[in-house]
């Protein structure tokens, strides 16, 4: 049995799961326009979406996406004096991003229909 059945904790856990679930698609989407390094991905996620992203989650996830063959990485020298690790989508990554985006759109529109009455009730 899992502890923490109080409403607040359950809601928090749900939100955490939801964010975590979206993060993979968010990262793939951030890379759609071309290669970026870790900090640029984080900034893109923060500026283009309201996703509050924990840095300690994004780097391990990037490493996992690489293991899965969805992104590839390369070290590039920079003016800052140290090299940076850039990530780019692979063909499989692009394919997966398109697939996930379509699923997202379907899911979001059906949830929208279901949730519409809740908005009016306010």
């Amino acid at each position: 049995m899992k502890e923490g059945d109080r409403d607040g904790e359950v809601a928090d856990k749900w939100e955490v799961q939801l964010r975590k679930g979206c993060l993979e698609l968010a990262i793939l989407a951030a890379l759609w326009g071309g290669k970026l390094y870790g900090l640029e991905i984080l900034r893109r996620l923060e500026s283009d979406s309201d996703l509050i992203v924990s840095e300690g989650t994004v780097y391990p996830l990037l490493s996992r996406l690489k293991t899965l063959g969805l992104v590839r990485s390369e070290w590039v020298e920079s003016d800052s004096g140290h090299p940076r690790k850039y990530y780019a989508l692979t063909a499989a990554g692009k394919h997966r991003a398109v697939e996930m985006a379509a699923t997202w759109a379907r899911f979001s529109s059906s949830m929208g229909k279901l949730l519409a009455p809740l908005g009016k009730g306010r």
Binding site: K20, G56, R84
Partner: protein, 208 residues
């Protein structure tokens, strides 16, 4: 003295990464180096965004990354389990489980069950093969015990048949041992991968 401050900041980074490196043990060396160098680059960029590398900047950047323990756990478990899920070969699965077991009690339990499953599956297949070599002694035997009970024993057929023992399957051990053994190995692999997925789902949530 800006030089001294920069050194202090550098030392903070080094100490953090050294601690992370120790906690990442279990991953292969190249992966660890990649992770550490990427994070060093990240911390330097983040901490020096205002210009110089300052102690305050580095402290903030490290706090945003979380503790080395938490970060290492995400990396290690995520990478190992992803690799295990990727490959269905029992050897790769076991290799990943051994490393997972060194990180958590759950991993250890799954490893023990998986080893037991593979061992039993392997024994049945081996017994089926050895039946061809030892037709009279290899097989599944029912052996009377001194206290009046019985023991079921899978015998490979080396040596003489057990006293008063009765062979249960005869030549059926050949197809049944092979099919049953294979099924056990496949089921065990599925169990290990399923456990790995469950564990990842329940433990690797972001620190909200």
């Amino acid at each position: 003295m800006p030089m001294a401050i920069e050194n202090d900041a550098q030392q903070l980074i080094d100490a953090y990464l050294k601690s992370l490196r120790t906690k990442l043990r279990g991953l292969n060396r190249d992966d660890i180096n990649e992770i550490v160098e990427e994070l060093r680059s990240h911390i330097q960029d983040k901490a020096a965004s205002s210009g110089e590398l300052t102690v305050a900047g580095v402290t903030a950047a490290l706090a945003a990354l979380g503790t080395p323990e938490a970060l290492a756990r995400e990396y290690a478990t995520d990478a190992l389990l992803a690799r295990a899920e990727f490959s269905r070969s029992p050897l790769r699965v076991l290799d990943s489980l051994f490393r997972w077991a060194s990180l958590s009690a759950a991993g250890f339990l799954v490893l023990v069950s998986t080893v037991a499953g593979y061992f039993l599956g392997g024994s049945f297949m081996w017994c089926a093969v050895l039946k061809l070599v030892h037709p009279h002694t290899a097989g599944l035997w029912l052996i009377p015990l001194s206290d009046g009970g019985f023991a079921v024993s899978l015998r490979m057929g080396f040596g003489s048949p057990p006293i008063d023992g009765r062979e249960l399957l005869g030549w059926w051990i050949l197809p049944l041992g092979l099919i049953g053994g294979c099924a056990l190995v496949v089921l065990t692999t599925r169990f290990a991968l399923w456990s790995a997925r469950q564990y990842r789902r329940s433990h690797l949530l972001p620190q909200a």
